[in-house]
Amino acid sequence: MAADTTAHVAVSLLDQLPILQVLVPFVAAPLCVLVGNRRLAWPIAFAACTIAFAISIRLLFQVQDVGVISYHIGGWAPPWGIEYRIDMANAFVLLLVSGIGAIVLPYALKSVQAEIPARHHTLFYTAYLLCLSGLLGVVATGDAFNVFVFLEISSLSTYVLVSMGAQRDKRALTAAFDYLIMGTIGATFFVIGIGFLYAATGTLNMADIANIIAENGANRTIQTAFAFIIVGMGLKVAIYPLHLWLPNAYTYAPSAVTTLLAATATKVAIYVLLRFIFTVFEPGFDFAQNTLRYIFIPFAVLAMFAASFVAVFQTDFKRMLAYSSIAQIGYMLLGVGLLSTLGLSAAIVHLFNHGITKAALFMGVGALVLRGGSSFYKSIAGMGKTMPWTSFAIVIAGLSLIGIPGTAGFISKWLLVQAALELGLWWIALLVVASSLLAVIYVWKVVEVLYMQHPANPATKEAPLAMLIPLWIMAASTIYFGLNTDLTLSAATAAADSLFYGAGASE
């Protein structure tokens, strides 16, 4: 593949899409600060995010047509130069991340005005763009060290974004600090893992590492690298015992930030985990197989139940959703741990479906917070009457969270159950269904609070249109992707195939 010298000869701007995907938001970020005008920051950010979204759609079609795109930065051929490698798996995740990034922005406008002091608005959009470009970079790149750099770009800006919730509750600051400590430990573990990989293989290009491991087999250094990378990324993913930073960070961050984080940041971390487990370390490699089977599956099941139980007893809507996110991450890891193509596609579909579902829910919470003052059940009681549009969208997304047929959540849970049954693991299928019943309880509690209690404040107005439209786009898409599964299923199956079989061995 290093002999492929034509790929980097730029003929038109279209050949530069893989880098532009990351570069557009990345350049727009300092532009926001340099222009320095509070009113211009939002339009710049919105333009950049929309362009990034358009690029990701275009890339997805391009990958469908021509297969893997290998972009060589500066014309330096891999494995020496940095390669951006877009295949089905990351084209799909890019679409999710940039799509959410673009849809959250119109919603953010009002929410940010209410929750963040005016003098920080420019910096907010700058950090938002940096976070987005970091996440897109992590997904687009095919270079192991590059993943670390982009991961830190997105993490550092995430800490800033979380701490901006300090106007509403000062606990946002300590939440951001805790996240910083744990996130940095995770990222440093990850970079140690990459160091070991480099020591063992002498290269940083993921496809090249995969080839060398496939040829020479694994040794202790590579096993150590695997352990460090899994634990480091596990912190970012919030795999069950490593999830402690998540509830506070989600609860106290500004609503728009929580929406972005819940829908993209953990999903990107899961993508990195998948990429390393399946592309870089072959799944055939015994050590990885045992880790997945005996560590991922038990912890995933534990997350599904323990986190759902905690969610049932919350009195704060936003915090409840944070715990439910930890439980949902359990489903994705379960799909990964099953080690089959169907399980992996279930994980990828759930990654996408849960992303849009949680985005809709957190947007709904943000709208309730805007009018109700807080997300405690007591202050949002009876809002089904005063804010019917917002509440109904929340109910739709809540149904998708449970996995009612006709919603996106059903598709992914159905696939997961099928994947478990395919391997004869009927008890896992039962556990998935049983833990969904817990989701019924916590979602029902919200429905009860919204619809069956007297309004806390009967004079509450419906949320502004700028928030309702993005909210309804997300809520409608949970229904759309529950009925029309062509895009998600075919993309996820192709993604799973490319992760499983396209291990960079051939081009």
């Binding site: 060290f145 670390f148 750099v149 830190e152 550092l156 800490y159 800033v160 701490s163 300090a166 000062k170 606990r171 600051l173 300590t174 951001a176 600090f177 910083l180 400590i181 940095t184 430990i185 990222a187 440093t188 970079v191 140690i192 160091g195 480099y198 020591a199 940083l204 007893f313 919350q314 009195t315 704060d316 915090r319 807080s374 405690f376 059940y377 007591k378 202050s379 009681a381 509690k445 609070v449």
Partner: protein
């Protein structure tokens, strides 16, 4: 005792020792600034690891001679890990400065930077939340 093994990997022992020291400080110390000091030591250990990876026995600094005539007998060290670690150092500085800025803000809001005291204040805040909002469901916030 395999002394060759022990002394031959001195850099890795050092790296492990410094790394664990840093990680221990992050976990054990309650003062937020000391936690950041620990985090820095932890990250520095990784720098040592990477830099020692790039060392080739008997190798010299990987710089071309001025006349660009390369003597094939000269052994050079591997510059790539060093370059990587330059990036990691920049990331480390950014993390440290952001953490210190957060500590300043925490000190403004909480009037302390000791984890124990912050926890007391946060528990009190959570209890206040419970009293105000917890009744709705009869549970803890």
């Amino acid at each position: 005792m395999d002394w060759d093994f022990i002394f031959g990997h001195l850099n890795y022992w050092l790296f492990t020792f410094v790394m664990m020291t840093g990680l221990y400080i992050v976990i054990a110390k309650g003062n937020l600034v000391k936690k950041i000091v620990g985090l820095n030591i932890f990250q520095t250990a990784v720098f040592i690891f990477y830099i020692s990876l790039g060392k080739v026995a008997g190798g010299t600094a990987p710089i071309f001679p001025v006349d660009m005539e390369i003597d094939p007998d000269v052994i050079y060290s591997n510059p790539l890990p060093h370059v990587l670690i330059l990036t990691a150092i920049v990331v480390g500085i950014a993390t440290t400065s952001l953490a210190l800025a957060l500590i300043v803000r925490i000190a403004e809001e909480y009037d302390c930077i000791e984890e124990g005291q912050i926890l007391v204040l946060e528990t009190a805040a959570a209890q206040a939340d419970n009293e105000e909002f917890g009744d709705a469901m009869g549970g803890r916030a």
